[in-house]
């Protein structure tokens, strides 16, 4: 769990959120390209979940394991949940669900880094 990884994924989530925001502004429902972007981000989050658990077990840092893993799981669950809820609404507001969810993912990634570095309790 390095700064590069955390900032990288947070930046990716923000980018996809901005892209979703653009779709929302154009009054477009969730389309395939946006769906694939979210899916790609989800793969990164699953990799983060696995990598985070591996790193947790091999680190000498004093990390709150329960808190760290529950954040990792939460962050990986949010995009699929948002897609399920948002895709049923064929309007800009279905896209809005993705904007909210992806910004939440970005914020949680920064919190994850804080938990890893022991600066957030």
């Amino acid at each position: 769990m390095t700064e590069t990884v955390a900032y990288g994924i947070a930046a990716a989530a923000t980018l996809v959120a901005a892209w979703a925001g653009w779709h929302m502004y154009r009054e477009q429902p969730v389309g395939n390209p946006l769906f694939y972007a979210v899916a790609a981000l989800e793969l990164a989050l699953i990799a983060l979940l696995i990598g985070g658990i591996v790193a947790l077990n091999s680190t000498s840092r004093d990390v709150d394991g329960t808190l760290f893993v529950s954040y990792l799981v939460t962050v990986a669950v949010i995009p699929p949940a948002a897609v399920l809820w948002g895709i049923a609404e064929k309007s800009r507001w279905g896209t809005g669900v993705l904007v909210v969810a992806l910004l939440t993912v970005a914020v949680l990634c920064l919190r994850l880094l804080g938990i890893w570095q022991g600066t957030y309790a």
Partner: protein, 134 residues
């Protein structure tokens, strides 16, 4: 019956779709925080943690009620939410010692970009907007 409502009268459609998502984020944030606080350090700040738990339940009820078009339940939950954020916000400024640890409603939700203060107002506006005209 929720399913037979015209789309523009259902609280879970249109703008409500996104609103439910925002509520879900706060339901998650407040309840997850309170579960963690109560499990790991319940004795540190019982008032703040009990309040986090209460706020979490209010957000969960509001989320579910909006998502399932239960207007009365949503109205009650959002009214409690508004009263909660105003009361706790005021108390946390007047008397710092009452809430030694953060809750979602401390300082009118400043730890969450003041979204907790605006959310109930938007919720009430949305309920009014989708109201069935007699």
């Amino acid at each position: 019956m929720p399913d037979t409502l015209p789309p523009d009268k259902a609280t879970s459609h249109g703008f409500g779709r996104t609103l439910v998502a925002v509520y879900a984020v706060f339901a998650l944030a407040a309840s997850a925080r309170s579960i963690f606080q109560l499990v790991t350090k319940a004795d540190d700040a019982p008032v703040a943690y009990a309040l986090s738990a209460f706020a979490g339940i209010v957000y969960v009820v509001a989320t579910v009620a909006l998502a399932r078009n239960q207007r009365v339940l949503a109205l009650v939950a959002i009214a409690i939410e508004l009263a909660g954020v105003l009361t706790v916000g005021l108390l946390s400024i007047v008397d710092d010692d009452l809430f030694p640890d953060q809750t979602v409603w401390s300082g009118f939700g400043e730890g969450y970009g003041f979204v907790p203060l605006g959310l109930p107002l938007i919720g009430l506006w949305w309920l009014n907007r989708t109201r069935e005209k007699a």
